[in-house]
């Protein structure tokens, strides 16, 4: 018989390395037509990092995403970056990009100020224009300013900067310290059905609500969450590298059981409205934490469904059925 159950799990997760320095550097150059080039040493590994980083550079310069071309992933060309690891790209590389783009922008403010008859600190960027704070009617197109600055003043709009999250080392005896600059939070809830004669667990739905600070690109954040959940589902129910005397016995995708499209539930994603002042435009990160609470909420849902606590992952059908049988035996012993 199939038994329905629901379970929740929440979590916290840090951005960046544990205490250790993990800097990123970036260079931003604004072209004379108002487009821009961003140089970053990170690598696109599928998350959409380059799109998010382009959005951060664009935002700092008052441009649209499409105006920014990102050059990445070549040690001959791009500046130092700790890389696509530890959910750090949006936050750490993003912060470096904000700082680099601000330097380029400051050059433009210097050039625009006399043209607009104000001081540089009275200027802001918006909609591809440089405009006077509080008096948007007085503005000038950014491409004209770049062109003026580069070809008349001889001052190309280019900026380089780096960022490393400030941490405090941990006491070796007590571990007390500030190992990370910021953390994200999340809750996932699973709705499952457990077949109490086979132990098979079917996940009907997962609701996932994550905090990533400001979502720079909500669509890509959703993609991270949905993908993280699929990794969590595999971790929860199916995936395991098996050994025999140190030799892997299932090193192939036939016998290493990762979720297919038929094994994934419907996923509903929500984002918490949050703003971290230390991140680029309030952003933190989204990569790894998406995979963290999934297994836990599924195990709690199994408990809710059939009253058994799975203590060793993965909760294969065989393990779940063994736990159910054990519980039946205990219940009978108690009844007797």
């Amino acid at each position: 018989m199939k038994k329905r159950g629901r379970g929740m799990a929440c979590m916290w997760y840090p951005i960046g390395f544990t205490v250790a320095a993990n800097p990123s550097a970036a260079t931003v150059k604004v072209n004379t037509d108002g487009t821009a080039t961003l140089l970053t040493g990170t690598v696109e590994t599928g998350q959409g990092a380059l799109t998010v980083l382009a959005q951060i550079a664009a935002e700092t310069l008052g441009l649209a995403t499409d105006d920014v071309h990102v050059v990445s992933g070549d040690t001959d060309v791009t500046p130092m970056d700790t890389g696509a690891i530890a959910s750090r790209t949006t936050y750490v590389t993003g912060n470096a990009i904000v700082r680099a783009a601000e330097k380029a922008r400051d050059i433009l403010f210097e050039a625009a100020a006399p043209l607009l008859n104000v001081k540089p600190e009275q200027l802001e960027v918006r909609d591809r224009r440089i405009q006077v704070l509080g008096f948007p009617a007085r503005s000038i197109a950014i491409d004209k300013v770049v062109h003026h600055s580069e070809t008349v003043l001889g001052n190309p709009a280019i900026g380089s900067a780096s960022y490393n999250p400030p941490t405090v080392d941990m006491d070796p005896e007590t571990g007390q310290g500030k190992p990370f600059n910021t953390y994200v939070y999340a809750t996932q809830i699973a709705d499952v059905e457990v077949d109490d004669e086979t132990g098979e667990v079917e996940i009907l739905k997962i609701v996932a609500v994550h905090d990533c600070g400001t979502p720079i690109n909500p669509m890509l954040v959703e993609g991270q969450i949905q993908g993280g959940i699929s990794m969590g589902v595999g971790f929860a129910l199916q995936e395991e590298i098996l050994f025999e005397e140190g030799r892997q016995i299932n090193p192939n995708l036939t016998n290493y059981i990762m979720p297919t499209s038929l094994d994934m539930p419907e996923i509903e994603v929500g984002l918490v409205d949050n703003y971290d002042p230390t991140g680029p435009f309030g952003a933190k990160g989204a990569g790894e934490p998406t995979a963290v609470p999934t297994a836990a909420c599924i195990m709690n849902a199994i408990y809710d469904a059939v009253g058994v606590r799975i203590t060793a992952l993965p909760a294969t059908a065989e393990r779940v059925l063994a736990a159910i049988n054990e519980k039946r035996a205990e219940d009978q012993a108690v009844a007797a």
Binding site: L220, L253, T254, S261
Partner: protein, 159 residues
């Protein structure tokens, strides 16, 4: 041996060793690198192409078997002017992340929509079960396939 195929509407041929798989012929002899090698044993689906109207794992099919057949690869979906509705919807939804499963996934989706223009979510899941994806949880891929089907249906209706 000489293998002659129609690939994406064009006659192509190559002299290949008889043990060459269709995937190897496409990638190494015809320079069509869209289809990928992900597992080489038919588990992952990154090598999926359509041969005479049905999708197959090109890593498991010898090139000689495809002699005289009509083959569609990912390179055959778009025209010089526009993307295939599936490509358009995949892009709009950000349905692919690392993209490595993409060529096979899109071909499987095309094979589905060619035979069933208005699939249910379950039918989409079933049709894509041979294409593993580690990045997306399949969610946006499924949304994109459903919408592409609707778009193709509307295009048909407008004709």
């Amino acid at each position: 041996m000489l293998v002659e195929l129609t690939v994406n509407g064009e006659s192509r041929s190559a002299n290949v060793p008889p043990e060459t798989t269709l995937l190897k012929m496409l990638r190494e002899h015809l320079d069509l690198t869209g289809a990928k090698l992900g597992c080489d044993v038919g588990d992952c689906g990154t090598c999926t192409v359509i041969v005479d109207g049905v999708s197959v794992n090109s890593c498991l099919m010898l090139a000689g078997r495809a002699d005289g057949c009509d083959v569609t690869t990912i390179e055959g979906l778009a025209t010089a002017d526009e993307l295939h509705p599936l490509q358009q919807k995949f892009e709009e939804h950000g349905a692919l992340q690392c993209g490595f499963c993409g060529p096979g996934m899109l071909i499987s989706a095309k094979n589905l929509l060619d035979n069933n223009p208005d699939p249910s979510v379950f039918e989409v899941r079933d049709a894509l079960a041979g294409n593993l994806c580690r990045c997306t949880g399949y969610t946006k891929i499924i949304e994109a396939v459903i919408e592409a089907g609707e778009m193709m249906g509307q295009e048909q209706a407008n004709v």
